[in-house]
């Protein structure tokens, strides 16, 4: 055994004892304070509780009754009617009040203002996204007449519902100081009615839209590339996109599908109190969720509306006339354009289109519903 070997063994031994004692310290530091539980567990079943605390001894049965009432436990009442409750008190309303008057109105309100300002600033900084190389003058069909009808039906409903809904939430803060109580009340009564009757129509429109357009919005691999390049919103990149680009798919699944269904379900709960299952708790939560989802949806809507109108040259006409310029299609929806051309669709110039309208459709060239402008 040489000296060097000896030192190495000793060092290893020292290291090992250090690690073990460290682990022992950590283990005991957790285990020893918990030993009291073990002691209590073992000791408890053997005998009666040693002593009663004064609070337990002097429990006042009537205070229990008041405590139950305060907790919202129900009692018996002879009164009947749709709005009679058998509770002395409930906390539900205070939660509803605090969420509605607190985060919903402050965060929600400023969120919409911030989104609006951000979009305005973005527009002022970057301006409209132009069609690269200008228009070609030749157009192809993007949205058929029934699809455009569905879109604008939902759009008009959405705007009416958004304005009337925001009026009910923020009107007292924003409008009453301007128009006064009487005028605002008449408007609010109309807004409340409009919101309640347009809502179901909008629900049908959104459900039809989800069913009809889900197939355009199935996520594809190239959407990932689209997101990695930020959708080409800034700069001159043109990431690949099918009929719907990545952003439109987010708008569809997060906006129309998720937020839409949330708003529809909570809206119907709030709209039909005569169904009878809605307790005050269900009702107030439905209203809170309805408003929260709707405000988020409006935030997304502002983005969608900006990109579809002011933000992109040549985008709006796809939803108004139903036809888009070939240059626009190649720039924003290259994969879709390739598919459409491969399927035999031919870009048509304005003169040809005009002539076609005069004479009626050329045989076999236009599917039904394409001509409506």
């Amino acid at each position: 055994m040489n000296k060097h070997h000896d030192a190495a063994v000793r060092a290893r031994r020292r290291w090992r004892s250090m690690v073990w004692s460290m682990m022992a310290i950590v283990f005991l530091a957790m285990a020893l304070p918990s030993a009291g539980y073990l002691f209590a567990q073992v000791g408890e079943p053997t005998g009666e509780p040693q002593r009663q605390f004064s609070e337990q001894r002097e429990t006042n049965p009537r205070s229990d009754m008041w405590r139950d009432g305060r907790r919202g436990e129900g009692g018996f009442t002879t009164q009947t009617g749709p709005y009679v409750t058998n509770q002395l008190m409930t906390n539900v309303g205070e939660n509803y009040r605090q969420i509605r008057q607190g985060p919903l109105m402050t965060v929600g309100g400023w969120f919409l203002v911030a989104v609006f300002l951000a979009i305005t600033a973005f527009y002022l900084l970057t301006g409209q996204k132009k069609i690269d190389g200008g228009r070609t003058g030749r157009t192809i069909v993007r949205w058929k007449a029934y699809e455009r009808f569905l879109h604008w039906f939902n759009a008009i409903c959405f705007i009416i519902l958004a304005i009337t809904g925001l009026s009910l939430l923020f009107g007292r803060t924003v409008l009453i100081p301007i128009v006064g109580h009487q005028a605002f009340s008449s408007y609010a009564e109309f807004a409340y009615g409009a919101h309640n009757f347009v809502g179901p129509a909008f629900s049908v429109g959104v459900l039809v839209m989800i069913v009809l357009w889900a197939r355009h919005n199935i996520p594809k691999k190239h959407d990932w590339v689209w997101f990695k390049e930020g959708g080409g919103i800034i700069g001159n990149k043109h990431p690949p996109a099918g009929k719907m680009n990545g952003g439109e798919k987010v708008w569809f699944w997060v906006g129309v599908f998720a937020l839409g269904l949330t708003v529809i379900i909570t809206g119907l709960i709030a709209l039909f109190p005569n169904l009878g299952f809605q307790t005050r708790e269900i009702m107030s939560w439905a209203l809170i969720i309805h408003a929260t989802a709707a405000i988020l949806w409006m935030g997304l809507f502002l983005g969608h509306a900006y990109i579809g109108t002011l933000g992109t040259e040549g985008a709006l006409e796809g939803m108004t006339r139903g036809r888009v310029d070939v240059a626009w299609a190649k720039q924003h929806h290259d994969l879709w354009y390739e598919d459409v051309v491969a399927a035999g669709e031919k870009p048509v110039s304005e003169e040809e289109l005009h002539g076609r309208q005069q004479q009626g459709p050329a045989p076999g060239s236009t599917p039904a519903g394409e001509r409506g402008t």
């Binding site: 009754m65 139950d68 009692g75 009442t77 009040r97 008057q101 039909f272 109190p273 005569n274």
Partner: protein, 196 residues
Amino acid sequence: MARMKFLCDAERCIECQACVTACKNEHEVPWGVNRRRVIVMNDGRPGEKSISVACMHCTDAPCAAVCPVDCFYTTADGIVLHDKDLCIGCGYCFYACPFGAPQYPQQTAFGVRGKMDKCTFCAGGPEPVHSQEELTKYGTNRVEEGKLPLCAEMCATKALIAGDGNVIADIYRKRVMTRGGRPQTWGWQAAYGDDI
């Protein structure tokens, strides 16, 4: 200035429903609308107690806080009233109220409820005092005549008392002191024992 309050003494209330009947009759409150109701806790069991509940005329009223048209107002006497001409029947006050006081004449599809109705502390509404409009919309105005709410005036056992908060608190304090300071020396247990 007085701050008007209701107080229901659960040791005195015998669930006779006189307060409910008095209110219904005095204000001609329609079917299905209940400005006041009696709630019985532990009904049919030892320790049964009943309490008469209506609008409690809160100092910081939740109904007034959530009303989208701001139709509530608090009188100089601390009575919470509302303007039915402004009310749009949205139901928010019913969800916010801890006592379930707001009532509506209808509960139909598309959220149609009609104008909210609730206890006025027999103090009418914003219409001219003792006018026909005030009578049909809000009921009689007894406070204007120097009288207290009829439910409390009708109460046979004087369980339900109404009036200036300081005065009725004094009345209740005297009652408690007369009954005995420690709660377990009076009431059901003291009279009949724990096991009945």
